[in-house]
Assembly symmetry: C2
Amino acid sequence: MSEEQQQQQEQQQQRRRAQRKDGHLVIIGGHEDRTREMEILKRFVELAGGPDANIVVITAASTIADEMWSIYDEAFGTLGVQRRSHLEVTSRQDANSEEFVRRVDAATGVFMTGGDQKRLLALIGGSALDTAMHVALKERGATIGGTSAGASAMSGHMLAQGRAEILPEKGSVSLGAGLGFLHRVVVDQHFSERQRLSRLLSVVAQNPYLQGIGIDEDTALVVDIGSGIEVLGQGAVTIVDGRGMLTNVAFIKDRDTPELIDVRLHLLPAGSSYRLPSSDDAPGKGLPPPLLDFLENVTKRNPIS
Amino acid sequence: MSEEQQQQQEQQQQRRRAQRKDGHLVIIGGHEDRTREMEILKRFVELAGGPDANIVVITAASTIADEMWSIYDEAFGTLGVQRRSHLEVTSRQDANSEEFVRRVDAATGVFMTGGDQKRLLALIGGSALDTAMHVALKERGATIGGTSAGASAMSGHMLAQGRAEILPEKGSVSLGAGLGFLHRVVVDQHFSERQRLSRLLSVVAQNPYLQGIGIDEDTALVVDIGSGIEVLGQGAVTIVDGRGMLTNVAFIKDRDTPELIDVRLHLLPAGSSYRLPSSDDAPGKGLPPPLLDFLENVTKRNPIS
């Protein structure tokens, strides 16, 4: 390209960086209240701008898209959101269409429903819509929400499928490529209700690079990019960190239970809230050191992939 | 007492210390195989002397003592044990009777069946029989086995009762005084099958002094006093260590879920085996450092309580 074009592009990038606003992720473990107090959906709406929010709902994970949309149409309506619409992606053509990208560019909140995260990724993964969601989160300060499959889809390595055995098993879980709003983590949902700790330990045993995040039903992990996290709702968020563990998983047969020594486990019930340390923190106050690395990891400002 | 008596007593104690042999604990998570391979019961018999073993079975935890005895009578018979008998404790008088103490003094193996650990302790806790079992383990090198309630009863702090909620809860578990063959631990059984991790985390959150040991069904933790441990059977042993954790449990209401940060979790499947480090270990070989404290704790030679 010409020198002039290069200059224009650099100036545009500088403007972008200058104007850039960090957004929020609202990662929900499924079965969130959609009819009563709606604590979690209410927070999603507040973060997206309250009455002025412009919310698009992506139902692509689900085979009953219309029913899903009508549920959230009613919930967000009850919460006072006028500008709400169904982004009905039925093909990759939809996910790459100018119209859908324009609608995401205009949105202050993008919500992904439950269903099957593999279906969701097959339809929107790597599309122009996917990129528009990253721009919304990382440059426009928009809020990206997802429940159940929509929660699992948020990490770069996505829990694609796996049985919830009573004990961890080598080879019982398979990962896929997710949307990558978070990296070096894997998200599981319906966590305590479906007793999925052994499944998450199976992932971490085989993939110690990933920190496991298990989110209970009607519970949300809210990530404020660049600054902190909060847990909302009825349950808890379980974090499993195997980076320092010792294991024989490399040497055992498929289906065997690995030996795991020194896995770090954190349980953050609703009400827990942490922010990255700042210079004005009193010593010993604020973030417990074992959570520092997790917090730095999930709140990290990632480039637009 | 007279000087002579004192001298005799000291000489006796010196002889005892000189002749003292360390025994084994076989701590079983319930539902061990009693009719087919009987891997765990076979090991119990081997440790108790094989065909020469003299095994007494304590059924005091159970309200169906005769049925319990007939099951183990047949199992130990099938395993070639001629000298086997039912130590039927129906009162604290029985537990303090010379006859029962004599029979334990003659035994090379003492096996405690399932039932209710509170019932077992109410009948034999602190009795002459209890002391005779400690002497058997710590001076005569006998083997003490227990399954289900008989396993829970082995620790000094005993899990008396508690609901297995899907999340840890303050005040949901109560402890009692156990037989004290092990200290600074609490044993739970039927562990993975009944999804009891949250219950064990509830104990550890409130009692960080105790390391939690969860034993699966048809699985045994074998403790070789003074030297090491081994896991046998079909499942695994889960160890939960909260001594270094941070928690708000002191400041929350009953029934609330505590925040737990930096709980250490170890999963030892059947086949795992560790011994205390010895001077002739090659550097980096042998015991993983995170297990050292646990191993030193459970293999410790405790005085006769």
